[in-house]
């Protein structure tokens, strides 16, 4: 089995610490660079690619392209400004898509 790697894409200030853990870090400054970094990483051996929320929301279309394949996994993570709830929102949308109704979150009033 081939070895896979983990990549993190985001603004340098947030993600540099991942480098200490042996995770590949792709610092980017705008959505376009983030898209390029994502495509580059997806073509290589990266099985998991984390993107900070700020950039992820700019290139959501590109991320969606990878959503129906088992690999790579593209995930959003909060950045140093904290999460803006985009990840939860995405889970909510997925549930809505699958069940046709928002039964999980509606009950809890988008806590």
């Amino acid at each position: 089995m081939r070895m896979h790697k983990i990549a993190v894409i985001g603004d340098e200030d947030s993600i540099l610490g991942f480098r200490a853990l042996g995770v590949s870090v792709f610092p980017v400054r705008n959505g376009k660079e983030a898209e390029e970094a994502l495509r580059r990483a997806a073509r290589r051996d990266y099985a998991v690619i984390y993107i900070t929320e700020t950039y992820a929301s700019e290139i959501i279309d590109v991320i969606t392209e990878y959503s129906q394949e088992p690999l790579p996994v593209v995930l959003t993570i909060p950045d140093n400004r904290g999460g803006q709830g985009a990840a939860m929102e995405k889970i909510r949308r997925t549930v809505e898509k699958a069940l046709g109704a928002d039964i999980l979150f509606g009950r809890e009033g988008n806590a």
Binding site: M1, M3, H4, K5, I6, D13, S14, L16, G17, F18, R19, A20, L21, G22, V23, A47, V48, Y50, S67, Q68, P70, L71, V73, L75, I77, P78, D79, N80, G82, G83, A87, M88, I91, T94, V95, K97, A98, L99, G100, L104
Partner: protein
Amino acid sequence: MEIRVSPTRMHLLELKKRHAMAVRGHKLLKDKLDELMKQFLEMVKRDRELREEVDEKLGEAFRGFLIARGAMSSNSVDAALMYPKEQISLKASRRHIMNVEVPEFEWSFEGQEDRTNIYPYGFAYTSSELDTAIRLLSEAMPSLVELAEVEKSVELLAGEIERTRRRVNALEHVVIPQLERSIKYITMKLDEAERANITRLMKVKEIVGERSV
């Protein structure tokens, strides 16, 4: 919408077969949908738990990191992190949930046996906030990888559920009613032909009877 069929016994038999098949398929798909739903809801629950955990841990780690960058010059932060001691080895394989392929990760930190000494730099020139930030990040890693696995599974399962539900609905609301209508139509036609035949026979009998008198 009517299926155009010629009202013959042969077609009736064929339609009945198809109807039985459709009903069976519908039942199977519905069972599949139920099971998918069950798995999906479990996954979503786990997904949300992990999400909350990760958001919190990462938030803390990033804040620590921000402070560290404030306390140190960015050059020295770069230098400190230049050569990581740690190496993550990740093995991705695939697993099937209800015939949906989902990724499964096996991973470990490689490099340092001693988990308390993961910092790739000497302590002399770095601030303690950096240590904390990196420790927090490394603690968040297990959840992060599991989150990747779970969130992807949720996504893929959602797609499969949607597809399955469409098929169930198509069978239930289109295919099966259509087949039933066609079957009914042929049955009525055949019955009608049967009645016509009986009437004709009675009439013939009547005529034959009249002649023989």
